[in-house]
């Protein structure tokens, strides 16, 4: 077995272009993806920040003044009129709205700037602002007359944007929430059975309810960690494919027949493939992970236990890659070159895609995500991410047992169907 191991190892080792690709490409990808998409694993709230224009065409004072005059003309007692006027002052929607927009939690996301209408349109076209909010002329008057006097159609706020986007949605969501609360309060005050006392009880501040429970013991997975793991795993998979595809050349040049003529057992050839894949993928995994640790500190300050766990996973994973290489090699000998090639290609494509190595898992439908955990790369990725977060020994052992059994089954299939002497 040793000479065959050496052969496959050297064949790979001497192809410098391939070595460089196998070692540098993952590093490049991890760097680019880690820097460029910090958002989707970590806190992406920063990417939601937006500049929003505010176009205020409404004259609040004038609106209130008109309504006061209107109130005076109504046949109501003076007390009622004073009460209503006070209510108006308090409930002026523009003021409430602007107050909410000045809150810190909102300010973090929405940077508001007051603009002239023409200026706002111009900045929107120049993409300097994401959207602008228009408070139309007569807004206060229209809104309050419906709110207090139940008269008229009410008023509308307008968000103007070029295209729908996540940010516009977020902003619309915030404003919608504000308006909803106001509408609700007004609705309550208009209900016939509800007097002022009751309204106070009903509109009591419920901000005390709810709250968040942040799950303990969980470390956030950073995008560098995610990509370093996902990409090094998929490249290990690629190594098994590459080593197996070398068999195409060996079949073409009748290397295998010549090996048989020397009296070696065919399985020695296969175990050479397996052994070299094991070593090469382990080397590559260790290199890529250590390099990303060195550059980006992905496993900064972790315990010895953590490192031992990672080592175990890498060894089992490399073993699994070795078994896959032997299966792919068997395919090369059992099938036509192009068919074997395509089958391998498709297998890698499917496993890579649903295992979360190519496509971020979260865009896939749920059942595919579950199916992805049945691929060796998906299983390893999930196991490593979990280990990274909670270091749960039991679940790691379970995953590794699964992976080990999977590898053994694959080896059994490969050995069983590999051509025997005299059958080639």
């Amino acid at each position: 077995m040793i000479p065959f191991f050496k052969k496959d190892f050297l064949v790979y080792w001497r192809d410098r272009k391939e070595i460089i690709i196998a070692l540098l490409m993952p590093m490049v990808l991890i760097t680019v993806l880690g820097f460029a998409l910090p958002g989707w694993v970590e806190n992406p709230a920063k990417t939601l920040e937006m500049k929003v224009g505010l176009v205020k065409l409404d004259d609040e004072e004038a609106g209130l003044e008109t309504l006061r005059d209107h109130l005076a003309s109504l046949s109501m007692s003076d007390e009622m009129i004073t009460a209503r006027a006070e209510q108006m002052e308090q409930q002026s929607p523009v003021r409430q709205l602007l107050n909410v927009l000045q809150e810190d939690s909102v300010k973090e996301i929405v940077h508001l700037e007051e603009l002239e209408p023409n200026e706002a349109v111009r900045q929107l076209k120049d993409k300097k602002i994401e959207a602008f909010l228009t408070i139309p002329a007569g807004f206060t008057e229209a809104a309050l007359s419906k709110m207090i006097l139940n008269d008229g159609e009410g008023a509308e706020l307008i968000i103007t944007a070029e295209k729908a986007s996540m940010r516009v949605d977020v902003m619309a969501g915030i404003l919608d929430g504000v308006l909803r609360t106001m509408n609700y309060q007004i609705a309550v005050s208009h209900m016939p059975d509800v007097d002022a006392e009751a309204a106070a009880v009903i509109l009591e501040d419920y901000s005390g309810i709810g709250g968040r429970e942040i799950l303990p013991g969980v470390e956030m997975v950073t995008s560098f960690q995610y990509y370093a793991l996902a990409i090094s795993i998929v490249f290990a998979l690629m190594i098994s494919v590459t080593i197996a595809s070398k068999a195409t050349g060996e079949k073409r040049e009748r290397v295998f027949e010549r090996i048989l003529l020397t009296g070696s057992h065919p399985l020695n050839y296969l175990s050479g493939k397996m052994g070299s894949t094991f070593c090469l993928s382990l080397l590559q995994l260790v290199f890529v992970l250590l390099a990303s640790h060195g550059f980006f500190g992905i496993f900064h300050g972790r315990s010895l236990q953590f490192w031992i766990g990672v080592t175990v996973v890498l060894i089992v994973l490399s073993f699994c890659m070795g078994s896959l290489a032997s299966l792919f090699t068997t395919l090369v000998f059992r099938l036509e070159d192009s068919v074997a090639n395509a089958v391998t290609f498709i297998t890698v494509l499917i496993a890579g895609t649903i295992g979360g190595s190519f496509v971020p898992v979260y865009v896939l439908p749920e059942w595919l995500q579950i199916a992805g955990e049945w691929t060796p790369n998906g299983l390893t990725l999930v196991a490593l991410l979990e280990w990274l977060q909670i270091e749960n020994m039991n679940s790691l052992t379970a995953s590794m047992l699964k992976l080990g059994v999977f590898s053994l089954v694959i080896i059994a299939i490969a050995t069983w169907s590999f051509p025997r002497r005299g059958r080639i």
Partner: protein
């Protein structure tokens, strides 16, 4: 008829299983991915100990009145472990008059869930408080709903021209992404047969035949383009005519963009074939480089998610980005030629450059 084209066709015709399964799987995968995508976010809820199932179900019913998030009842342990493993952003623990958001991280989705749950709870709790003052609970709820149906304050979204803002269709974008993405693999696989022929010596023998170099290249390229184009078109046709998806009013334009995209992908594969010597190397690099393209182009995310200048710059060199821009513009915004001209022009430029450099590299190596 070009003899090389014919040869490729005969090869596939004699053993059609391979190419058919390749295209078939790609189409199937696009359909599976595309239709499996739930635009609704799924959030698990579980009840606090001692809470009655009936109450939990009442809350669940109220929570599910919204459209963006779907709440499902689940076992507490499972819900917690899903959050812990990052498979879902958040879970909700229901209590009689209160709730807790269970999260491992803080992101916009969690905030979205929290805002929704909070408003549902506050509204319902207020209604419950108000009912105590009301003479008739049913009438009260009805009147509240009626008043809120015609509220004094409303919010409207407009474009700067004053039209209604068209809602963005994210699942359509993902559908396009997957069909374009998977077509890259088919095309790459077909183009790889050039290097396979080179390794096998067939290429050299054809050079000796009366077939010209031009014919050799065009034969291969046309065949690969045709296969890729047919695959994308098949997906579009299936979506539009069989599944009745709304792909806008300009189906012909979509097909045309798909065609130009295929050509640029063929060119890109040629460039890679030129750089890499053997089909084995191609098989290693291609499947690891291609999946990064949609990721970097932001094709899996809503537009505007990626703001990094460097990243936006990189994505300019990927045909996928421009094709996706054009397809989305046509299908969602009903854009005409002027609007998508830039994207198409960029696709063509990428195609021409890649093809030029690729063939050059391939020829240079032979000397």
């Amino acid at each position: 008829m070009n003899p090389i084209f014919l040869a490729q066709w005969m090869k596939d015709k004699r053993s059609p299983l391979l190419i058919l399964s390749f295209c078939g799987l790609s189409i199937l995968a696009t359909l599976l991915f595309g239709f499996g995508i739930d635009s609704q976010m799924k959030i698990s809820v579980f009840k606090a100990p001692g809470m009655e199932t009936r109450q939990a179900e009442a809350w669940l019913h109220l929570l599910n009145k919204g459209e963006t998030i779907k709440f499902v009842i689940q076992d507490e342990d499972q819900a917690r472990s899903e959050v812990r493993e990052g498979r879902t952003d958040a879970a909700v623990q229901l209590m009689e008059n209160d709730y807790r958001i269970i999260a491992a991280i803080d992101n916009p989705n969690v905030q979205l869930v929290e805002r929704h749950v909070h408003s549902v709870f506050v509204e319902e709790l207020r209604l419950r408080a108000a009912e105590k003052f009301a003479d008739d609970v049913g009438t009260f709820r009805r009147e509240m709903a009626q008043y809120q149906g015609d509220p004094p304050l409303v919010l409207n979204l407009r474009t700067s021209e004053g039209d209604e803002l068209i809602e963005y269709n994210m699942s359509l974008q993902l559908l396009f992404t997957f069909s374009l993405f998977l077509a890259m693999f088919t095309v790459g696989y077909k183009i790889n047969s050039i290097s396979m022929e080179k390794v096998a010596g067939i290429w050299s023998r054809i050079i000796l035949s009366p077939v010209s170099k031009f014919e050799m290249y065009t034969g291969h390229l046309m065949y690969s383009s045709l296969v890729g184009f047919l695959q994308i078109s098949a997906v579009f046709v299936l979506f539009n005519f069989v599944f009745g998806l709304d792909l806008g009013f300009r189906f012909g334009m979509l097909i045309l963009i798909a065609g130009i995209y295929t050509l640029s992908i063929v060119a890109m594969s040629m460039l890679l074939t030129g750089i890499l010597k053997t089909p084995e190397q191609f098989n290693m690099v291609f499947p690891s480089a291609i999946p990064v393209m949609p990721l970097l182009s932001g094709a899996y995310m809503p537009p505007g998610t990626i703001t990094n200048k460097f990243l936006l710059g990189i994505s300019e060199i990927f045909p996928l980005k421009h094709a996706l821009d054009a397809l989305v513009a046509v299908a969602i915004y009903d854009a005409g030629w002027q609007e998508v001209f830039l994207s198409i022009a960029k696709l063509c430029i990428i195609g021409v450059i890649c093809m030029g450099v690729g063939i050059n590299l391939m020829e240079r190596r032979r000397r």
